[in-house]
């Protein structure tokens, strides 16, 4: 679960001399929101986001129609981009959670992935959400059960042991400290090809465990 496994390799990139209008079109055509700007040898020079391409009406307020056209035509990516040193980047070997933390803290939508100054990929919010979905088995149908367990060593193993002792396989699982309930963890498991009631019956037998939610999805 490292950045290099989940980033998009060969992201769409443009040189700094690209006209802003073209960059806007490239982003629209590729359905992307972040566009790294690179110089020779794919070295990072900046980043264009949708917000960066927004021209404020006050800039244009004093211009007439003809001047607006010329103003827009002369504008290049270099003028509008977030400059190189301000772009927040990461490396291929960083863990996914570290990358997520940086993005959450800085409130940014993407991290450009660099290897020796060369752009090798990009990882975005969307990539993270897709992975969260995969991690919890959102892409397959089955029974999804949330179990609240005490914060003690060996409690997870009870859940997994109970399921596997019946010969069922866990397709996906995740766990978080229960919000607002210190001393407890919520464990989510997804099991395929099992009747919901059978699974619940097995899990209910474990002492101190509470089934918070069970559903087929």
């Amino acid at each position: 679960m490292l950045v290099k496994d989940f980033m998009t390799r060969h992201p769409v990139m443009v040189p700094p001399t690209t006209p802003a209008a073209e960059a806007q079109q490239v982003m629209r055509e590729n359905k992307i929101r972040h566009l790294p700007v690179v110089g020779d040898g794919k070295r990072l020079e900046g980043l264009i986001t949708r917000e960066r391409l927004r021209v404020s009406p006050t800039d244009l307020g004093s211009l007439n129609v003809w001047e607006i056209t010329r103003f827009l035509a002369n504008m290049t990516v270099k003028d509008m981009m977030l400059k190189g040193k301000d772009v927040i980047t990461t490396a291929p070997d960083v863990t996914l959670e570290d990358a997520a933390q940086i993005m959450a803290q800085k409130k940014i939508g993407c991290l450009v992935v660099l290897e020796q100054g060369v752009v090798v990929g990009i990882i975005t919010e969307t990539d993270m959400l897709v992975e969260l979905n995969h991690m919890l088995g959102g892409d397959v149908s089955g029974v999804r059960v949330t179990i609240r367990v005490p914060d003690r060593i060996g409690e997870f193993a009870k859940v997994f042991g109970a399921i596997s002792s019946r010969g069922w396989g866990i397709y996906a699982s995740g766990s978080v400290p229960t919000p607002k309930h210190p001393g407890y963890w919520d464990v989510v498991v997804k099991v395929r090809g099992v009747p919901k009631d059978d699974l619940v019956a097995v899990l209910e037998k474990i002492e101190d465990h509470e089934i918070v939610d069970a559903r087929e999805c």
């Binding site: 390799r9 769409v12 040189p15 001399t17 490239v26 020779d40 040898g41």
Partner: protein, 710 residues
């Protein structure tokens, strides 16, 4: 076998998108549209194959993408979009940057892509130091890493060598590694394995598939070989005369070809399927029209079996006939390839196996051909050094009955051609016996009588270089007749015309010069010339490997027909195992000068195999994605023939050696015995017959039961 399309491929915008592309070349007196109306797209992580015969515009499309069209070529219409950006019209610095950083190319001949006067390491490092400004030392480690990723043995050492010091397959690996150094988003490969041996080709194709997954690179793969496309790509576009005539997933193309040209192509490649009936070839009549004289209507019309009036007047559009399947044909829905019957002029001759064993016409016993190698030391110069030899042919033993064909297969450098040269007398043999019709033919041509020379004739691989460019076709064919006096002088012209007609060339070819002929026609003239003196034995050295598949099928059928009519005996050399199967009664497999297995054609292609034959069969690309093929790859390169491995020459690379007791010690020390399998089938191997019999068939079609030879 075929690569599946990755699940995310549909979501993202394509890496490369061509729309309605037309490329024109300015020539004297106007311009020629080499490519017209080509549209396709390649998604990330996908390999898109482009197939077609030579002159169909495949390479022009690739050059247009990177703007390598030369001074007189330009994109006339349409657009080429790379990651949503228009490439047409991009020039100068921006183009240079794109070519270096984002798009890389690998060409057919690795020797031409590498600078012969620079060390490989320096050439590779240049890519990084120039494009990325990386320091020499960092570049060095980077390059070695990349060489290791393409499975180059001893990578650090290879960096210090010059291109001529490594083998062809290794050169191609260096070129691929170089292309990947800058981690391109798009890789264009133009016939990257065509110049390589089948075993090396298989390894390179495995490598390409692996790299595509690992680097997530989009690949545009150009080839003429339908088998190779089936192995590497997920989608295929078929090009004909500058147009894309069909585009579909690889499964659909082979299972359900919609366009008559695609159907024709598939019918004219020999398949290494489970039965011999699958290797009957039906050529496509006619040839690809040159770009300046394409028909007004459908470009394939003149060669199509379903030609109608509408095809003559109206050029069909590329239209979607089912999801993901695009065809340029007015009547694609009506055409059912299963209903197709060959028209009379292309029905292949029936191969009738003569029941009665014929008298052997050629008997070869322990034939050896060694070449002396001149050493470089002073001692060698004055002749005191130990003499060293290239053992090109070692102990060849075989008979050929009259009227039959012996096929010889093997990798390059295995001694196939030397064997043939020794028989025909271009080289004298070192030792052993060879008798042709009772006459000794161990000496070279100067020791042979004219009559003997007349009885042995040869068809060469490259028809271009074997014909005198300033002699007319008639003169070339007539010359052997005149020389050997087989035909009275006054009748030579009639006789030549008769031969031309047998080759399906009209009388009007008599006065043409070689440059006025196409490749296939030249090869027909070459065959006619070989037959002109009514020889008893014709030696064919790769007669079809330089030709397009549709022409290849016609030439093979022609050779078969001639054999039936004249009762000629043939030795047929080829590196393509599927061609040999179709053509030969007997097949010999050679490795490093040594015959490894010899026997009736059918016996060679089913177990028991020699381990080398098994490896060769598993490397052949098969133009049918549904066929299952065992995965056996030979490690390393062919050892040097100057010092061949002791014992069994194949032991250094043999994948089956571990089946021997002691891990195959015996293979290293002792020359293997000839195992008689029965009915003239012999295998040169230490492994006991029971073990050889237990091998499963290499090529199986799902649903068919694997057959074991008893």
């Amino acid at each position: 076998m075929a690569e599946t399309i990755p699940p995310w491929a549909d979501e993202a915008a394509p890496v490369l998108k061509l729309e309605d592309l037309a490329v024109a070349y300015k020539v004297r007196g106007g311009e020629i549209e080499a490519v017209q109306n080509v549209s396709f797209e390649i998604k990330r992580g996908e390999t898109h194959g482009i197939v077609g015969e030579s002159g169909c515009g495949k390479s022009t499309v690739a050059w247009a993408v990177v703007n390598f069209l030369g001074n007189n070529g330009y994109v006339k219409r349409g657009s080429i979009k790379f990651q949503g950006r228009e490439l047409v019209g991009v020039v100068g610095e921006e183009l240079r940057q794109l070519r270096g950083d984002q798009i890389a190319m690998v060409y057919q001949d690795p020797m031409q892509a590498l600078n012969p006067s620079m060390r490989l390491g320096d050439q590779m490092k240049e890519v990084l130091t120039v494009h990325r400004g990386i320091s020499q030392r960092e570049a060095e480690t980077h390059c070695i890493e990349m060489l290791e990723r393409v499975y180059m043995p001893d990578a650090a050492n290879v960096m210090k060598r010059f291109p001529h010091q490594i083998s062809g397959g290794q050169q191609q690996r260096v070129v691929i590694a170089m292309a990947l150094l800058n981690n391109p988003a798009l890789l264009i490969m133009d016939e990257p394995t065509t110049a390589l041996d089948v075993t090396v080709e298989a390894a390179v194709l495995d490598l390409i598939a692996k790299l595509r997954r690992e680097f997530d690179t989009a690949i545009m793969y150009i080839t003429h070989n339908l088998g190779v496309v089936a192995r590497v790509s997920s989608r295929v576009g078929v090009m004909y005369a500058g147009e894309m005539v069909e585009r579909a997933t690889v499964e659909a193309i082979y299972k359900n070809p919609r366009h008559p040209y695609t159907q024709g192509l598939i019918r004219c490649v020999p398949k290494l399927g489970a039965d011999k009936a699958g290797s009957v070839l039906y050529p496509i009549r006619g040839r690809v029209p040159p770009p300046d004289s394409r028909p007004v209507g459908c470009v394939f019309g003149p060669r199509c079996d379903y030609f109608r009036d509408r095809c003559r007047e109206e050029r069909p559009d590329l239209r979607q006939v089912s999801p993901g399947s695009w065809v340029r044909c007015h009547f694609a829905e009506e055409i059912d390839p299963a209903q197709w019957t060959p028209s009379e002029d292309i029905i292949p001759p029936r191969i009738s196996a003569a029941e009665v064993p014929a008298e052997p016409i050629l008997q070869v016993r322990d034939l050896k051909k060694y070449y002396e190698v001149q050493g470089g030391s002073l001692k060698d110069m004055v002749g005191l050094g130990e003499k060293r030899y290239v053992k090109a042919v070692e102990n060849a033993n075989f008979d050929i009955p009259k009227g039959r064909t012996l096929g010889i297969v093997g990798e390059s450098g295995c001694g196939k051609s030397t064997l043939v040269k020794t028989i025909i007398g271009l080289e004298s043999s070192t030792s052993g016996e060879a008798e042709f019709l009772g006459l000794d033919i161990t000496g070279d041509i100067s020791s042979r009588s004219e009559q003997l020379i007349q009885e042995l004739q040869m068809v060469f691989q490259n028809p271009d270089s074997t014909m005198n460019p300033s002699y007319t076709v008639g003169q070339q064919i007539g010359r052997p007749m005149q020389r050997f006096g087989t035909v009275p002088k006054g009748q030579i012209r009639d006789e030549v015309i008769k031969l031309l007609q047998a080759m399906r060339l009209g009388e009007n070819y008599y006065d043409r010069l070689p440059r006025q002929l196409s490749g296939g026609e030249k090869q027909r003239v070459g065959i006619a010339r070989a037959l002109a003196s009514h020889p008893d034995l014709v030696l064919c050295d790769e007669p079809v490997s330089a030709l397009d598949v549709s022409v290849q099928a016609a030439i093979l059928n022609l050779l078969l027909e001639i054999q039936q009519e004249y009762g000629t005996t043939m030795i047929f050399i080829a590196h393509d195992l599927s061609v040999v199967r179709f053509f030969s009664d007997y097949v010999g497999v050679m490795y490093l000068g040594q015959m490894m297995e010899i026997g009736p054609a059918e016996a060679i292609y089913s177990p028991p195999y020699h381990p080398y034959t098994e490896a060769l069969l598993s490397a052949v690309p098969i133009p049918d994605p549904s066929v299952e093929q065992k995965h056996i790859r030979l490690a390393g390169a062919v050892p040097s023939a100057i010092a061949p491995p002791s014992g069994c020459r194949f032991h250094t690379r043999c994948p089956r050696r571990e089946l021997m007791p002691d891990g195959g010690k015996l293979c290293e020390t002792d020359v293997p015995p000839w195992l008689e399998i029965g009915e003239e089938h012999r295998i040169f191997c230490h492994l006991p017959l029971e073990t050889l019999n237990s091998f499963e068939a290499v090529v199986t079609k799902p649903g068919e039961v694997t057959q074991h030879a008893s």
